[in-house]
Symmetry: C2
Subunit: 210 residues, 2 copies
């Protein structure tokens, strides 16, 4: 059964438990989806309102990205659990002969790379919408601007949580070219997203405290 | 129906929609619950294991707080929606006579204070467990340490998101004593929690990259 088809309460219980899945990568994906949904709420209270007629096309463009990334993040919340099961299966392979040992090692390395790709994709999805939040803060219905701030706070935390989950896998992966490529990309995503998130939060605070 | 009895996917859809609830305060509470559950997972993979026998009592004490606060945060996710409905109801009161106008104003102010108390309680609940995360990072099963980091990242973002939601209400509340009392408490919680979260994240990064 899909994890995101569980109730919020059941999902939390299973996350907290000593079952192997869902883990932190899945939690990061759910947090990213929460962030995208909060920002989408601000957009949805702006589209179709005459008062905000000038910005309709911009808001619709932003909303499309928010919806796509929210959807993707929910899929990644499930994909993370699946990828982790594969890592467990690889570690469980027989290692009686040298041939078996080699096959097991290769399967483990492949499974770890596949598992690293899930939080990588979570980080990419978060960065893809966080970059639009300063513009959304400028253009959305001002009654909903705090929800853009919630999106920026939760979105950048989700990205940072995803980054920790990539690093956990990289620590076990022996292909240094692969590792440094992932680290470069993560660092780029984190820098861009944290600048955009800070900008958005600044705009939100100015608007609320004005 | 309780919002947290919806599936994760339904909750996200409703959050993103232009329905009045759930709003950003509820999203902050759900993010706080996600954070507590992630950290609880690290604790649950530590209790009852001989290898970590020395720290059983400490881990059990921390786990108890994590479980209590996670439960509270899920209740607050629902309470936020309820409080918001009350604000809407107060704004909808008749205002034909001076007496009605005064009664409406008073009802609005009371409903806004009740609505501010929910994200205040979210911030309190987050701070209550974030303060324990550096100790959990030191003592938990090291295979799960990244989940303590996820708890710290998501927990402090949830607290910051709750803070924005308190501020949105304070901006409409006319009792300046009430407002400055809430702002002082929020600033105290945010400072304590962000120090603890940074400490925990530093420990997690050192452990992962070691």
């Amino acid at each position: 059964m899909s994890l995101v088809s569980e109730t919020v309460r059941e999902y939390m219980q299973r996350l907290a438990s000593n079952e192997p899945t869902p883990g932190g990568g899945s939690a990061a994906a759910v947090a990213g989806a929460l962030a995208a949904a909060s920002a989408a709420m601000a957009a949805n209270f702006t589209v179709g309102k005459k008062k905000f007629g000038d910005v309709q096309a911009d808001i619709e463009r932003i909303l499309k990205v928010l919806n796509t990334q929210q959807q993707k993040l929910l899929e990644l919340a499930d994909a993370d659990a699946e990828a982790y099961s594969q890592v467990g299966a690889a570690y469980g392979m027989p290692r009686d002969t040298d041939e078996q040992k080699q096959a097991r090692q290769q399967a483990i390395q492949e499974a770890l790379m596949a598992a690293a790709e899930v939080p990588m994709a979570v980080a990419e999805a978060c960065a893809a919408f966080i970059g639009l939040l300063p513009e959304l803060a400028d253009k959305c219905n001002p009654n909903l601007i705090s929800d853009v701030g919630v999106g920026a706070q939760l979105g950048s935390a989700a990205l940072a949580a995803a980054q920790l989950n990539v690093e956990v896998n990289l620590a076990l992966i022996k292909d240094e070219d692969y590792n440094s490529q992932k680290r470069r990309r993560l660092s780029q995503l984190a820098t861009e997203a944290s600048e955009a998130a800070e900008q958005a939060i600044e705009k939100v605070k100015e608007a609320i405290l004005a």
